[in-house]
Amino acid sequence: MAEPATATQAAAPAVALLKDELDIVIPTIRNLDFLEMWRPFFQPYHLIIVQDGDPSKTIKVPEGFDYELYNRNDINRILGPKSSCISFKDSACRCFGYMVSKKKYIFTIDDDCFVAKDPSGKAINALEQHIKNLLSPSTPFFFNTLYDPFREGADFVRGYPFSLREGVPTAASHGLWLNIPDYDAPTQLVKPLERNTRYVDAVLTIPKGTLFPMCGMNLAFNRELIGPAMYFGLMGDGQPIGRYDDMWAGWCTKVICDHLGLGVKTGLPYIFHSKASNPFVNLRKEYKGIYWQEEIIPFFQQAVLPKDCTTVPKCYIELAKQVKEKLSKVDPYFDKLADAMVTWIEAWDELNPIGPVPNGKAA
C-alpha cells in the first residue's frame, strides 16, 4: 500500500539545482498546506501561485516561501481583454503562471500531491528528478530498450546508432503518481478502489510521432524551449468541457516538439496523489471530451506543420489555424478555442517581449 513520506524523512539536497532559474507554479482554490511537506525540496525556489475561484478569499501561504500570488482580479488587470483566454474555475488557470514567469524552467504541481516514497522508503525529491530529466538529452528518434540511456547505471544498447546518441534537448518531463492514478471518470467509476502501487524505476523518451496523454499534476518543462505551447485551453466556468486542459496542452506540445526536434520524457519522478476527485462530477466535465477526443486525436496525429514554422509561437499559431479549419465542425467550442490559442500567443508575446521594447529602450 503506497504511503506518502513524512516531512521528517525528507532530506533537503546539498545543492538546490537551478534555484534561480526555475519557478514552481501552483494553481489552488483552497489552501497550500501541502507545501509544508515539500518544504525541504521547494523552499529554495520561487513560487508562482495562481489562485482560482473567488478572488476575495485569502490563500494562506506557509511562512518562509518566496512567492508571488495572482488571483482573477490580477489576471484581468494584467491581461486586460486578453484575460479571456485564461480559464476561470478550473486549474487550467495555472498556465497564467507560465506566462508571467521570467525563469527558464517551470515545475507545476497540484495541491493534492505529496512527497512519495521510493521502494527503499526514501522520500522522493520530485523536483530534483525533473531537473535531471530536463538537463539530460532525450532520444526520440530510436527507442532505447534500457530506457533513458543518460541515467546512471544505464546506456544505449547494442544496435543503437552512434550518430543518434547525442540526443536532442528535452523540452518537457512528465512525472507519474502513486496512490490515486490519473484515470478518467468512467474508469474511476468501475475501479473506485484501484491504487497505483507499482513503482516503475524508469524514465523514457516518448518516440517522435507518438502522442500521449499529458497530465499536469506533476510536470516540468523548459519554458524557453516550449513555454508558448503549454496553453491549458478553455475549461471550467462557461465552457462545455473540463479535465482536458493538460491533455490539450500535451497534444499541442508533442506535435510541436516532434516538428522542432525536441524531446519529451515520461516516467520518474513519482509523487503521492492523495485526493480522488468525485467521479460523477468528473464524468459531467469529461463527457464531451470522451467523444471529442476520438476526433481530436486523429487531428493531432495527422497534423503537419509547414517547414517555415521554425519557432514555437509560429507553430502554435499554425496549429490554431488548423484547429479552426478542421475541428470547428466537431463543435463551435473549437472555434472559440482556436481564437483563444491566438489570444494566448499574443498575451505571451506581450508579457515576454524579445529584444528591446518598441520605444527603443532595452528590455
Binding site: 521502494p119 530510436f142 527507442f143 532505447n144 530498450t145 534500457l146 530506457y147 547505471g153 544505464a154 546506456d155 544505449f156 544498447v157 547494442r158 544496435g159 543503437y160 546508432p161 552512434f162 550518430s163 543518434l164 512528465h174 507519474l176 492514478p181 490519473d182 484515470y183 478518467d184 474508469t187 475501479k191 484501484e194 491504487r195 497505483n196 502501487t197 507499482r198 513503482y199 516503475v200 524505476d201 524508469a202 516518448i206 518516440p207 517522435k208 510521432g209 507518438t210 502522442l211 500521449f212 496523454p213 499529458m214 497530465c215 479535465r243 482536458y244 493538460d246 491533455m247 500535451g250 515520461t266 469529461e286 470522451i290 477526443q293 476520438e294 486525436i297
Partner: protein, 352 residues
C-alpha cells in the same frame, strides 16, 4: 500463466553455442520442465552437447540441419543464427527463445522470475501501439488506461513479439561495455510497454518470445557480419531481423512489447577483444536505421511472408549497391521465405 494457454502450444528454442548445457538447463528446470524444448547445436561447434536428463526435448545438430535444408543452406544457421532453425521446424504457436548464457533472474522482491509465464502473458494480452499509455501496460493487474486515452483504441491489437531484458550483463555493444568494463545492469524496471507504431528499436535476440503463427517468417537469419563471431558483441543478425519484424508488425497492425521479463545474463567474453570485430556492425547501423525508418510497405503485402519479400526487394534496390553485405542479406531473406514455405508450417493471416 494465462489459463487459456496450453503448455503444448509453446516451444522453447535454445541455440547452443557452448557444449555444456548442464548448469543452464538445471537452473531453468523449474520453469522449462513442463514444456517441449528444441535445442539447436551451432553447426560449427565440434564438441558433443551435454544435456541433463528429465526434459521433453528434440536436439538438432549439423547432420539433422543438413538433412532438412541441405548442406549448402545449413551454413545460414551458423553461430547465434542456429536458433532460427528451431523456429523453422517448430510446429507450435508460441516460441520463447533465450541465449544459453542466460539464467533465471530474481525480481525486486527476490522472487525467481518465470520468464516463460511473463512472455506468454505479454503475447496473449493486447498491445497498444497507436497511443502511448503513461502507466505502461494497461492490461497488467493494478494498471489501466489513463485519462485522455481514446476509448476506440482501448481494445488494442494482437501482440506478435515480446522483447525481454537482461540483468547483470546488459546487451551493450562492445565499445560501450569496453568503456565501462565494470558496469552491470542492476535496475529492475517493473514494467511492460508497447513500442509505439513506426518507432524502431534494437530488438535483441537474447531473450525474446513471439507468436510463430503470426510473425514467424520475419525472424530470420540474413545479415551476417564479415567477422561475425560467437559473442553477441560480434553480431548484428538479431538487430537486423528485429528491424524486419518491427516494420512488418507496424504494417500488419500487430504489436511489439518490451520490458519484463528479465533474465540474468552471465559475464562472458571480453568487450575489448570484440571491439575489432564489431566495428563493422556499428558502422552498418548508421545505414540500416535510416533505411528501415523510410521503408513503406505496399497495401498488397498482407502476410508476413509478403512483408519479408517486400523488404528484401527494397534492401536490394536501395542498400545493395552500398555494401555487398546488404545484397547478400536481401538474397538470404528471399531464400528464407522460400525455405519457410517449404519446411516451416504455414502462417495464419494476421489477426487470427
Amino acid at each position: 500463466m494465462s489459463l487459456s494457454i496450453k503448455d503444448h502450444e509453446i516451444d522453447i528454442v535454445i541455440g547452443a553455442l557452448r557444449p555444456d548445457l548442464t548448469s543452464f538447463m538445471s537452473e531453468w528446470r523449474p520453469i522449462f520442465s513442463r514444456f517441449h524444448l528444441i535445442i539447436v547445436k551451432d553447426p560449427d561447434l565440434k564438441e558433443e552437447l551435454k544435456i541433463p536428463e528429465g526434459f521433453n526435448l528434440d536436439v538438432y545438430k549439423k547432420p539433422d540441419i543438413d538433412c532438412v535444408v541441405g548442406t549448402s543452406t545449413s551454413t545460414i544457421f551458423s553461430g547465434y543464427s542456429c536458433r532460427y532453425f528451431g523456429y523453422l521446424v517448430s510446429r507450435k504457436k508460441y516460441i520463447i527463445s533465450v541465449d544459453d548464457d542466460c539464467y533465471p533472474a530474481k525480481d525486486n522482491k527476490g522472487i525467481l522470475v518465470d520468464a516463460v509465464a511473463q512472455h506468454i502473458t505479454n503475447l496473449t494480452t493486447p498491445a497498444t501501439p497507436f497511443f502511448f499509455n503513461t502507466l505502461y501496460d494497461p492490461f497488467t493487474e493494478g494498471a489501466d488506461f489513463v485519462r485522455g486515452y481514446p476509448f476506440s483504441l482501448r481494445s488494442g491489437v494482437q501482440c506478435a513479439l515480446s522483447c525481454g531484458l537482461w540483468l547483470n550483463l546488459a546487451d551493450y555493444d562492445a565499445p560501450t561495455q569496453a568503456l565501462k568494463p565494470e558496469e552491470r545492469n542492476s535496475r529492475y524496471v517493473d514494467a511492460v510497454l508497447t513500442v509505439p507504431a513506426r518507432s524502431l528499436m534494437p530488438i535483441s535476440g537474447i531473450n525474446i518470445a513471439f507468436n510463430r503463427e503470426v510473425i514467424g517468417p520475419a525472424l530470420l537469419p540474413s545479415l551476417r557480419l564479415g567477422g561475425e563471431g560467437k559473442f553477441r558483441w560480434e553480431t548484428m543478425e538479431d538487430i537486423w531481423s528485429g528491424m524486419c519484424v518491427k516494420v512488418a508488425c507496424d504494417h500488419l497492425g500487430l504489436g511489439v512489447k518490451t520490458g519484463m521479463p528479465y533474465v540474468w545474463r552471465n559475464d562472458r567474453g571480453d568487450a575489448i577483444a570484440s571491439l575489432r570485430k564489431e566495428w563493422e556492425g556499428v558502422k552498418l547501423m548508421e545505414e540500416v536505421v535510416p533505411f528501415f525508418q523510410s521503408v513503406r510497405l505496399p497495401r498488397e503485402a498482407t502476410t508476413t511472408e509478403d512483408c519479408v519479400a517486400e523488404v528484401a526487394n527494397v534492401v536490394k534496390e536501395q542498400l545493395g549497391s552500398k555494401d555487398p553485405i546488404f545484397a547478400r542479406a536481401a538474397k538470404a531473406m528471399v531464400d528464407w521465405v522460400m525455405l519457410w514455405k517449404s519446411v516451416g508450417s504455414s502462417t495464419s493471416s494476421p489477426g487470427a
